[in-house]
Symmetry: C2
Subunit: 689 residues, 2 copies
C-alpha cells in the first residue's frame, strides 16, 4: 500500500510541476506580449503558490521514500534476496518443515563468506592488537545473567490477542498504526500528523503503561483477527532452559558473548601479567527469542557476535596507537547534530576526539579500526556512518556510545556498537559473586592522599534517635565529600544542623557531639580500582547482509536481452576465489584444468572447477552471481586466460604461473592493475560472453 | 581408594620378588656349598611356587593399573591439567560463581589451538574435497528432532535419591559398585568376580528394568546419603527450550549438527548440479544435558562438532581418491578381533577394504583421511586406533561403523565416529516432512527391468475374510519377491496356501482367485533412490584434550632442580608460533624486537613479545609450557637467534630475514632440519637456560 501512495504522490507532483512550468511559460509570453503589470503579477502569484506546493509535495515524497525504503528499495532488496536464496547464500532454516521465523542457515557460499569475514576479524583485531581470545559456552546459569541485568531487564513489551493468544510486540503495533495513518490518510490534520510522528520518534521511551494507554486511545486491535488486545507486559527475550536433570538449575542461552569475558576478568588480567590496558575478544553464537521477528535477515533469533572488551584505567583512556588512525575521515553523526536535526557529516577522527565529540582516544581508536574493517570488507564508505547515542539511549552508566550504522534497503542499520560502559559490568559481577574484579597499580613512589574520615558517635546518636540510630549512622557514613564538609562547617558555626536521612524520609537535627568529620592525609602505595571497559560489539550477520546489498549490481548480458546479477566482493571475502573451466569440452583442456586445480589447492585457494559443456558466457554469469573475482579459462595446453569479474578484462598467463598469479592478487599482494601491467591483455572477442 | 589398593599390591609384589631373589641366592649357595639334592630340590620347589605367585600378582597389578588409569596415569593427568589450567588453556566456566559441571571455557592459548585445529579441519576436508559447508542454528524445532529420533531415544537412564532428589546415572552407580567390589573385596569368589565383570561389559545393553533389578539385587543406594533410589527412568539429554513467546513451539538445542545438513539435502543436491556423490560439512556447537558429567574435559555439556555427511549411491560406494590413501597402515580393531578378545593390529587400509573388513571404499577413504588429520595435529600414531562397532553397538540401519579412538589417561577415548548410516536419516525426514529427499539418476539408455506385480482381489478376499479384508490385502501387497514367488508356486500347484498375516497374528488360507502374482518387464529411464550417507563426525574438544596429553612432557631445567613442562605442539596447532625477546633490557634491543614483531604481524604469524627483565631461561620455560615452537632472542642489532623448543637448538639469523624464516618453518614449507642446514648454529652457552 505504501508504494501505491508514493506512486500517486509522484504523479501529483509531476502534474503540479508541469503546471508550474506552463505557468512560467505563460508569464514569459504575457511579458513578451506587453500584458499589464497587474495581469503579470496575478499570474506570478499563482506561480509562487504553485512552487510552494511543489516544494511541500516534494519534501513529503522524499521523506516517505526514505522512511519506508521506497519502491525502488523494495525492488532492489527483492533482487538481492532472490539471488542470495537461489545461490544458497542463505536458506530459511528447517525449510522442509515450513521453517521457523528468525532462523536462517548459511548455505555453502554464505558460509564461506562468513568464515572469511570472521577470519579477517580475527586477524584485524585479535592478531594485530594481541587480544586475548576466549571461547565460552552458550548455556549460561541464571546467576550470571541476573548479575548482568538480563534476567530482569532484557525484555520487550508484548500484547496478546485476547481470544487466540497470538503475540505481538506492542511497539510494533503502535508504530504500524501511526505509519499507516501518515501514509494513507490524506485528510489527516497537521496536528494529528505531528502527534503520530512524535509517537513514532519516542516509541523506545514509552513505559508499559504509556504504551497500553496509547493502544487503547487509538483503538488498536489484533491485526489479523481484529480481536481486542491484552495490556502490554514484558517478555524476556532469552531462551530459557534447565541445566542438569534436577530442574533446579535454571539457565539461558546467552544473549551476548560479553559476560563470558567479564566473569573471567581476574584470570585474564593475571594472564596479561597484571597489567592494563588489555583487550579480550570472543566470537560466538548469541540468542534472542524475538517476539515476532521482522526485517528478514537483520532481525534473527540466533546470530554470531564478535565482541571485544578492552579494559582500561578509568583515569587514562589514551591509546598508544591512536595516531595510526587519527587522520581518518568518515561520516559521524554526533549527538548535537541529531538533536538539531542536522545531517551527519564527515569529520576527522583526531579532531573529533580533540574537540570532545568522542569521549576518549580508546573509543576513537576502535571507531577508526572498525571503519577500516568495514571498508576492507567492501562496505561502501558513503553508506557507513557512526551515530552517537543520545543521552536517553545510553545506559545510565555508559560514558559514551557510537553505533556503526550501514545504510541498506531497510534504512540505517546498527551493525556495530562501540560503547564505553565504564566500570558497570565488573562491579555488577564483583557484587554478585563476592570475587573482587579489580586492578591494582603500584606507585613508583608512595603518594600522599587526603581522605575524608567520618566517625559518627554511636552512643550520642543512639541517645537521641533511639530505634533510628542505625539509619542515621548509615546516612552519615555514606555522605559525599561536599555534603560532609558542609555539615562540618555548619556544626562548627552553629553547633547543630538539619540533616536529611533518606531511609527515614525526613530530616533530623544533628548536634556537634554526634559526628566527627575530618580530612586526613594518608600515604598510599598503590591504587586499587575497577577498570572501565570499552566494548566494540559486532553483529556479524548484519554486517554480512549489508555487505551483500552493497556488493550487488546487475548488468546486461552480451546479447542485451537479460540482466545478470553480480556480487562485487573483494577477494578477501569472496566465497570462492577462482573458477577453472576448459573453453570447450576437450580431454587435453580438462587435463590442464585439473592440473591448475591441484596447484590452486596446494596454494590453499578455494576454487571450483566446471567441466560441463555449458557456454562460457553462462559459466561466467554463474560465477559472477556467486561473486567469484577471477575465472581461469583453459583454451590451450600451455597458456590460459584470467578474467576479472567487474571489468571483464582478461590477461593471458602461462599454465605454470597461473596459480601463483591468482594467489598473489587474492592475498592482496598485487592489485588487478599490477596484473594487467605484467601480462598481455587477451581480447575476449573469441568467447561468447 | 583404588590407588591405595594398587599401592598395597605393589608392596606385596616387591616383597615377594625380594623373597624370590633371596631364595634364588640361597639355592646358588646351597649348590655351591654341596648341599644334598633333595635339600636343593625342596628349596627349588618353594622358589617355583613363589615365582608363580609373583607372576599372578604382577598380572593382577597390570590389569588394575590399566583398568583405572593407574597411579601413574592419574599423576600424569594431574600434571597436564595443572599446566592447562595455570596457562589458561581451559577455565572452568563461570568460575567466580563456583562453575557449572560439564562447562569449560577455552582461555587464550586454548582458543588459539581450537581455532588452528578447526582451520586445518576446514582445509583438510572442506577445501581439499570441495565439500559444501553449511552453518545452521543451534535452536531446533521439535519436529526435526522427532523425525531424527532424538526426542524419543536420546536418553540416559537416571535414578533419583528418594529423599533428596539428587540425580544419578543408573549405569554409573552399577559400574562403580562392580568396580569397587572387584578392586577392594580381596575375598571375592571367582564366580562373583566373573559376574561383576560381565555386568560391566554389558552395561550399555541393559534395559531400564534390568538395570533396576540389578541395582535392587546388589542393594545399591545413593552414594552420598545412603538413601534408597528410585527405579531407573529415561532422561532426555537435550536442553529443552521454547521458540517464540507463545510457549506453544517446543524446541531444543541441537545434540549434533548433522540434522541441519539432512533437512537441506534437496537444496544441496541441486547446488551440486543434481549429481552424486557429494559431501556437506558443518562445524558448530552441540549440546548434551548430561545427568552428572564426569571425566573432566571429555564429557561436557556443550562442545564443538565438525561433521561431514557424504551422500552416495547405495549401489556404488567406491571412491575415486581411495588409491591416495590405500597404502596407509595403521591400527585397526575389527569386530572379529574384539569378539575373540585378540589385540588390535596394524592393517593396510587397501587390504582391509579388499578383504571386506571395512565395508566400502568411501568409508575406508574417510578413515585414511582421518588418520592423516589426527597425526598431522600431533596425535601419536601408536596411541590411535580405529575400532569397529560390534553388531549390537550399531544402530539397526547402519551398514558399518568405525570409531577413531585415542589412548589417553582415561583409557581409549572415542573422538571420531565414521559411520555408514545407509538411507536412514533422509528417509526419516522424507517421511516426517512429506518432502522427497531423493536422488535421480538418468540412464544413458532406458533399461529393461523386471518388476514384481501383486494384485489382490478385494472382492474375493472380502467375501472370505470379512472384517479382516484390509489386513490380509496389506500383508499380500508387502510380500518380498521370494515369498511372493513361493505363494504363487504353491497356489498354482495346490490351488491354496497357508499365509501368515502378522497384523492378525495368525495364518489364513489363501485360494487361487484371491491374488494374482506376476513378474512384468518394464522400461525405466531413470532410477530414483534415497542416497546412503557416510558420516564422519569429529568431537573437536576431545581431540584437543587428547592432543594436549600426547604433546605434554617434562624435562629438568639447567640447574636440574626443577621439572619444566613442555607442550610439543607442531607449528600447525601451536597457539602462538613464536616469541620475541631482547636478551637483556636495552633500548636498542627493544627497538629491534618491536621491528621483528611488526614484520611477524605483516606475515600473519601470531607471536608474543616479552620485554620484561625476567631471566632468559625463565622466559624460555614460560613459552615451552605454552607450546610455542620458536623463540627469537635479540642479542645484537643486526642478527638474532632462533631457538627450537624441543631440541633447544639455536641458529643465528639476520634481523631482516628472521620473520620469513619463522613463517617458512611455521607454514610447513621448511623443516627445522632445513633451517639448521641453512643457518649457523648458535651455542647457547651464553644464555642461562
Amino acid at each position: 500500500m505504501a508504494e501505491t501512495s508514493i506512486d500517486s504522490l509522484k504523479a501529483v507532483l509531476a502534474q503540479k510541476r508541469a503546471s508550474a512550468e506552463a505557468q512560467g511559460q505563460a508569464i514569459r509570453f504575457l511579458k513578451a506580449s506587453g500584458a499589464s503589470p497587474s495581469e503579470v503579477e496575478s499570474t506570478l502569484n499563482s506561480l509562487k503558490a504553485m512552487k510552494v506546493e511543489v516544494e511541500v509535495l516534494s519534501k513529503e515524497l522524499n521523506s516517505r521514500v526514505s522512511e519506508n525504503g521506497g519502491g525502488n528499495r523494495d525492488a532492489f532488496r527483492q533482487g538481492v534476496v532472490n539471488a542470495l536464496e537461489r545461490r544458497l547464500f542463505y536458506i530459511p532454516s528447517f525449510k522442509i518443515y515450513r521453517g521457523v521465523a528468525g532462523l536462517y542457515d548459511y548455505g555453502p557460499p554464505g558460509c564461506a563468506v562468513k568464515s572469511n569475514v570472521l577470519g579477517f576479524w580475527r586477524e584485524h583485531f585479535v592478531l594485530v592488537e594481541n587480544m586475548l581470545e576466549v571461547d565460552c559456552p552458550c548455556v549460561t546459569p541464571e546467576v550470571v545473567l541476573k548479575a548482568s541485568g538480563h534476567v530482569d531487564k532484557f525484555t520487550d513489551l508484548m500484547v496478546k490477542d485476547e481470544k487466540t493468544g497470538t503475540c505481538y510486540r506492542a511497539d510494533h503495533l503502535l508504530k504500524d498504526f501511526c505509519k499507516d495513518k501518515l501514509e494513507k490518510d490524506l485528510t489527516l490534520p497537521e496536528e494529528k500528523a505531528m502527534e503520530y510522528k512524535r509517537v513514532m520518534a519516542t516509541l523506545d521511551d514509552l513505559s508499559a503503561k504509556e504504551l497500553g494507554s496509547k493502544l487503547k486511545e487509538y483503538g488498536i486491535v489484533a491485526p489479523d483477527t481484529k480481536n481486542p488486545l491484552s495490556d502490554p507486559y514484558p517478555f524476556n527475550l532469552m531462551f530459557a532452559t534447565s541445566i542438569g536433570p534436577s530442574g533446579l538449575s535454571p539457565g539461558y542461552m546467552r544473549p551476548e558473548t560479553a559476560q563470558g569475558i567479564f566473569v573471567n576478568f581476574k584470570d585474564l588480567y593475571y594472564y596479561n601479567g597484571n597489567k592494563l590496558p588489555f583487550a579480550a575478544a570472543q566470537i560466538g553464537q548469541a540468542f534472542r527469542n524475538e517476539i515476532s521477528p521482522r526485517q528478514g535477515l537483520l532481525r534473527v533469533r540466533e546470530f554470531t557476535l564478535a565482541e571485544i572488551e578492552h579494559f582500561v584505567d578509568p583515569d587514562d583512556k589514551s591509546h598508544p596507537k591512536f595516531k595510526d588512525v587519527s587522520n581518518l575521515e568518515f561520516f559521524m553523526y554526533p549527538r548535537d547534530e541529531q538533536k538539531e536535526a542536522k545531517p551527519f557529516k564527515k569529520l576527522q577522527l583526531g579532531d573529533a576526539v580533540k574537540k570532545g565529540i568522542i569521549n576518549n582516544e580508546t573509543l576513537g581508536y576502535f571507531m577508526g579500526r572498525t571503519y577500516l574493517f568495514m571498508t576492507s570488507l567492501g562496505i561502501d564508505k558513503e553508506r557507513l556512518r557512526f551515530r552517537q547515542h543520545m543521552a536517553n539511549e545510553m545506559a545510565h552508566y555508559a560514558a559514551d556510545c557510537w553505533d556503526a550504522e550501514i545504510e541498506s534497503s531497510y534504512g540505517w542499520i546498527e551493525c556495530v556498537g562501540i560503547a564505553d560502559r565504564s566500570a558497570y559490568d565488573l562491579r555488577a559481577h564483583t557484587e554478585k559473586s563476592g570475587v573482587q574484579l579489580v586492578a591494582q597499580e603500584k606507585f613508583a613512589e608512595p603518594r600522599e592522599v587526603e581522605k575524608l574520615v567520618i566517625t559518627p558517635s554511636k552512643k550520642e546518636v543512639g541517645l537521641v534517635f533511639k530505634g533510628n540510630q542505625k539509619k542515621v549512622i548509615e546516612a552519615l557514613e555514606v555522605m559525599k565529600e561536599a555534603e560532609a564538609m558542609e555539615v562540618k562547617a555548619n556544626l562548627e558555626a552553629k553547633g547543630e544542623v538539619e540533616f536529611f536521612v533518606c531511609t527515614l524520609g525526613q530530616s533530623v537535627t544533628l548536634t556537634k557531639n554526634m559526628v566527627s568529620i575530618s580530612k586526613e592525609k594518608k600515604k598510599e602505595h598503590q591504587k586499587v580500582f575497577t577498570p572501565s571497559v570499552i566494548e566494540p560489539s559486532f553483529g556479524i550477520g548484519r554486517i554480512i547482509y549489508c555487505l551483500f546489498e552493497h556488493s550487488f549490481y546487475t548488468r546486461p548480458n552480451k546479447a542485451g536481452d537479460e540482466q545478470c546479477n553480480v556480487f562485487k566482493f573483494p577477494p578477501l571475502v569472496a566465497p570462492i576465489k577462482c573458477t577453472v573451466f576448459p573453453l570447450i569440452q576437450k580431454p587435453e583442456y580438462e587435463e590442464v584444468a585439473k592440473l591448475i586445480s591441484k596447484a590452486l589447492t596446494r596454494a590453499r585457494i578455494s576454487h571450483k572447477i566446471d567441466i560441463t559443456g555449458t557456454s562460457i558466457g553462462k559459466r561466467y554469469a554463474r560465477t559472477d552471481e556467486l561473486g567469484v573475482p577471477f575465472a581461469i579459462t583453459v583454451d590451450s595446453s600451455n597458456s590460459v586466460t584470467v578474467r576479472e569479474r567487474d571489468s571483464k578484462d582478461q590477461v593471458r598467463v602461462s599454465v605454470d604461473e597461473v596459480a601463483a598469479v591468482v594467489k598473489d592478487v587474492t592475498d592482496g599482494d598485487s592489485t588487478w592493475a599490477d596484473i594487467l601491467s605484467r601480462y598481455p591483455l587477451h581480447s575476449s572477442s573469441s568467447s561468447d560472453e
